[in-house]
């Protein structure tokens, strides 16, 4: 796996094995923030950024843990780094764009418990990617997450105008749409490998 070309890694992470629709990572924000198109794309941006930073950190940590021979600390170290990265991003966004900060609301701190980010760190370690490969992998995963979120938000905006039976309102409907999207994304199987 480790000698995959960069393009393959990108396509693989963003389309073929989309983090949301194929690995089910980051479902909570996917269902929670996907009711408005604008919020969805901003959330996607924030997640991509955190992914990139934590991927770089995870690469460093892994090298360090291998050097001091303490692999059992991996999980604890990863989650601590991700939590502090999110805190940093939160402070940064609050300073730069208070409007964006308000619209993301509770979901910004919740990026910490977004499995997509920890999943990314774990997967890249398991696959033994090099530094450059890690960065491409993180960008691909972020792009895939944003794509899924934006697609979902677009569908849900349209759906608000449609009349659906009472029982299907809310999460059940969102899950069915996600299922259909997931079927669609299976069409990318075979691309890139």
């Amino acid at each position: 796996m480790a000698d995959d070309s960069l393009w393959t890694i990108f396509i693989n992470a963003s389309l073929v094995n989309n983090f949301v629709l194929a690995y089910f990572l980051g479902i909570c924000p996917f269902l929670g923030v996907s009711s408005k198109l604008e919020t969805a794309s901003r959330m996607g941006g924030a997640v991509t950024f955190v992914m990139l930073v934590s991927s770089i950190c995870a690469f460093g940590i892994q090298a360090l843990l291998v050097a001091i021979d303490a692999p059992y600390l991996k999980l604890i170290a990863f989650i601590a780094v991700i939590a502090s990265t999110v805190q940093l991003v939160e402070m940064f966004i609050k300073k730069v764009s208070p409007a964006l900060f308000r619209s993301l609301g509770i979901f910004l701190p919740l990026i910490t418990t977004n499995c997509a980010i920890l999943g990314l760190a774990l997967f890249q370690t398991n696959k033994g990617y090099s530094f450059v490969q890690c960065i491409v992998y993180a960008l691909g995963a972020g792009a895939g997450f944003t794509l899924a979120l934006v697609l979902m938000a677009g569908l849900r905006e349209k759906l608000e105008l449609a009349e659906v039976p009472d029982v299907t309102k809310g999460t059940a409907m969102a899950l069915m749409i996600a299922g259909l999207l997931s079927v669609t994304f299976m069409g990318f199987g075979g691309l890139g490998g």
């Binding site: 059992y72 999980l75 989650i79 920890l118 774990l122 398991n126 899950l175 259909l180 997931s182 299976m186």
Partner: protein, 216 residues
């Protein structure tokens, strides 16, 4: 409100009325990802239940010592410790299961359900009550995962726990094993729960209406 309930109530509420998956819709990622067979789903459910109970016990026994400002970080460290334990135990007991569950064992750390219970319940209640809460929620979670996994395995593979249920001519619904099947099955369960809830609400409404008429 919470203090007037007995610890049995704390246990039972997680099983049905506040079921973490079907009612609260928490911890979706592992629910969808590893529920492709009943065995995987059950193993994942039990692993999560163990972490939930242990972290609830530790968090509630330390609740007076943990400073408010760093509580979330502390909870996550406590949870991560137990998840590492579970990860190594599963690897030692069954390598096959470990491979099937893959990275999702480690991802128990970021299961919103566990952090949610630590923050919402264990940080405010006694050790005994938190244990019962963790047990109830954990078993409710495992039960929900099993419901999902069983449906997906029966329809998608024609078997339950690896034992074939149908004649060879059974046409497998391959889509149920695939990721999209997870979304569809969970949506179907949620529909069922919504329908039950609505029917109950309607019944109560008509009952009160009838009572009012009688009084009048």
């Amino acid at each position: 409100m919470a203090s007037s309930k007995s610890s049995t109530d704390e246990f039972i509420k997680g099983l049905w009325k506040e079921n973490p998956v079907f009612v609260q819709v928490l911890g979706m990622c592992p629910v969808l990802a590893v529920s492709n067979t009943a065995m995987n789903a059950l193993a994942m459910g039990l692993a999560t239940a163990f972490v939930l109970v242990m972290s609830n016990i530790v968090v509630s026994s330390l609740r007076t010592f943990i400073p408010k400002q760093v509580r979330i970080a502390t909870y996550i460290l406590i949870i991560a410790t137990f998840v590492t334990v579970v990860d190594y135990v599963i690897q030692a007991v069954s390598l096959e299961l470990y491979k099937a569950l893959g990275a999702f064992i480690s991802l128990i750390v970021v299961n919103c359900l566990i952090l949610g219970r630590a923050e919402a319940f264990a940080s405010k209640n006694t050790v005994a009550r938190s244990t019962m809460d963790g047990l109830g929620m954990g078993i409710g979670f495992a039960f929900a995962l099993f419901c999902l996994g069983a449906v997906r395995e029966i329809l998608g593979n024609g078997s339950l726990f690896g034992v074939a249920l149908f004649h060879d001519s059974f046409q497998k619904w391959v889509v149920m094993i695939l990721p999209s099947g997870g979304f569809f099955t969970l949506a179907a369960w949620l529909l069922l729960f919504n329908w039950l809830k609505q029917r109950k609400a309607k019944k109560e409404a008509t009952a009160t209406l009838a009572l009012r008429k009688e009084v009048a």
